[in-house]
């Protein structure tokens, strides 16, 4: 089982790294990080912050684009090009196929993040003479967030077209980062409605409360520690560890949904 997953993962990785658009994105991001060093010169004593902030933001943005644009094609393209017939006609289960595809793209994103991180550290050493090891925490959580994003792209890729999948994935990313703000606005209002005592208000208030708390389960803000790290707010490894566990849980849920959807799909 592991061998089959690994074979599919390696094949996915080899296919992904052959895409020219990937190199264009990587070069563009490296250029952005480099540009932050020059922009940092314009700020008074905050050049390191500027480099770190832009570096982490660039890593997250590039990673999100890669995850979505490569991820949506992972299953959909295989069906469209009919390459999937020769794989699923072997003793490969659909679950192994989905997990193999997931691991393959995860490998691409992992290598991209390592490359960016090394570049960011080198730039920091050259400009400020020191490395901030706290950046590792932010990079670990960026990787976890991207792995969740890849898992959700697989859910959409297993049943919808590329365009729809792209829209759904970016909507998920946006929604995932707005849930905390949404909760801050909506939960006090819901509490007020429940406290009013009127039957209709109580019902609406409770519905909003349940909906918002449900949304908080898929909050991606748990992974967003970039700003805090850049501004030196202390973040412990225990927080990062909880983020990793949370990420694995979300990945697991989304992968199970993707497997369930894909298992029922007729490959016409």
């Amino acid at each position: 089982m592991t061998n089959r997953i690994l074979s599919i993962a390696i094949n996915t990785y080899r296919e992904a790294i052959r895409q020219k658009v990937l190199y264009v994105l990587v070069v563009f991001t490296l250029f952005l990080i480099l540009a932050s060093a020059f922009l940092g010169q314009l700020t008074l004593g905050a050049d390191a912050k500027m480099i770190k902030d832009m570096g982490l933001a660039a890593m997250m943005t590039l990673g999100a684009f890669m995850s979505v644009f490569l991820g949506i094609g992972l299953i959909f393209k295989e069906i469209e090009r009919k390459t999937i017939y020769t794989i699923l006609s072997k003793p490969v289960s659909r679950a192994e196929f989905v997990v193999g595809k997931f691991v393959g793209l995860l490998m691409v994103v992992f290598i991209e993040l390592i490359l960016m991180f090394v570049f960011l550290c080198l730039l920091l050493v050259l400009t400020t003479g020191q490395i901030d090891f706290n950046l590792t925490k932010a990079v670990v959580l960026i990787f976890m967030e991207l792995s969740v994003l890849i898992a959700i792209t697989l859910v959409f890729s297993s049943y919808s077209s590329s365009l729809m999948s792209t829209i759904f994935c970016f909507s998920f990313l946006l929604l995932g980062h707005l849930t905390d703000d949404f909760a801050d606005i909506m939960l006090p209002r819901a509490a007020q409605m429940i406290a009013s005592g009127q039957a209709t208000d109580v019902f609406v208030g409770r519905t909003i409360d349940m909906f918002v708390r449900g949304l908080e389960i898929i909050s991606l803000d748990h992974f967003a520690i970039n700003t805090k790290i850049v501004h030196g707010v202390p973040i412990g490894w225990d927080y990062v560890f909880r983020g990793i566990v949370y990420g694995f849980c979300l990945q697991g849920i989304f992968l199970l949904i993707a497997i369930k959807l894909f298992s029922k799909k007729d490959l016409q």
Partner: protein, 313 residues
């Protein structure tokens, strides 16, 4: 001793929607048959008859709406059933960034073959399909015929007991078709069970010992080819050189009138019974006998009749 069926298809029906707003289409309608070990089984049908759908159901790529299919006693929906099968899809596509030997190694790994065994098997198969001199070439530079050969090689990577091929000769030139036929003959000599679909009836007739005829998703006939296609001679065409003086003798029954082309003429006898009488008559008339062509029933006749009968229904 009765052979055990390696494939059993029981009351398989498959319907699907081509579009959300459209009505369901019945692609396969209550089809049942079995295939014995060592058979070369031809699945015959016009385009859209349900051949590919039936094969995809066997491969677990699509689920039947009702009914069940078993391969070597395993349900076709289980990945276990695919351990001893080789499958060549219709107009298959492959990862074109890989080289011939790389793609075969990828498929070998999916079967869990040890590396040394896989390498030996890949060399054997590249030799078999005549691509050993192209093993380091990326698939994107392959012609259609070469891709079909790679398809056959990947279908045989696990040395399967059953080989299922969907239109293996479609789109190939005469040499490519002959090569694929030779491979099928070789697999038959190795005792493999081979199932292949085609609408080229001469291919089916020359290679298969058993056939199933599908018309609009329904099984019209199934069984041994020599049972379905009767070997009896329906009529005989006799061709002579020379000119016919006067009328054709009434006592020798023929279909239609004698046909004259250049310095030859031909007649079609209703049966073999009057052949010797015809030859004797020609000898007396100083006509030179050029050929005697017995017309037997062909798979094409059966198929055309079946399609016509279904259409009338």
């Amino acid at each position: 001793m009765k052979q055990l069926p390696v494939i059993q298809i029981k009351n398989i029906t498959k319907s699907f929607k081509t579009d959300f707003w459209k009505k369901k289409v019945l692609a396969v309608d209550d089809v049942s048959f079995s295939i014995d070990e060592g058979n070369v089984f031809g699945l015959v049908g016009h385009n859209g008859a349900g051949k590919t759908t039936l094969i995809k159901i066997l491969m677990g790529l699509i689920a039947p709406t009702s009914g069940e299919a078993h391969i070597l006693s395993n349900s076709c929906m289980s990945s276990l059933a695919r351990k001893d099968i080789g499958y060549l899809p219709e107009s298959a596509y492959y990862y074109d960034f890989l080289r011939a030997n790389e793609i075969l190694m990828f498929y070998a790994k999916l079967f869990g073959l040890p590396r040394t065994l896989a390498e030996n098997r890949i060399n054997e198969l590249l030799e078999l399909v005549g691509l050993n001199h192209r093993k380091d070439l990326r698939l994107r530079y392959f012609s259609k015929g070469m891709l079909q050969r790679i398809g056959i090689a990947q279908a045989l990577i696990n040395d399967p007991k059953i080989v299922i091929m969907d239109e293996p000769m479609s789109g190939l030139d005469p040499i490519g078709r002959k090569d694929v036929k030779d491979i099928i003959i070789r697999l038959r000599s190795l005792g493999k069970t081979i199932i292949f679909s085609s609408h080229i009836l001469s291919d089916i007739e020359s290679l298969c010992d058993h056939v199933a005829i599908l018309v609009r998703g329904r099984l019209h006939a199934c069984g041994a080819l020599n049972e379905i296609v009767q070997p009896k001679v329906n009529e005989v065409e006799v061709i002579f050189r020379g000119a016919l003086s006067g009328h054709w003798p009434e006592q020798i029954k023929i279909h239609g009138a004698p046909r004259t082309v250049a310095d030859t003429f031909s007649v079609t006898l209703s049966s073999m019974d009057q052949l010797y009488e015809t030859i004797e008559y020609a000898k007396n008339q100083n006509l030179q006998l050029l050929s005697v062509l017995p017309h037997k029933e062909t798979l094409e006749d059966i198929f055309v009749d079946s399609a016509g009968a279904m259409k009338r229904k």
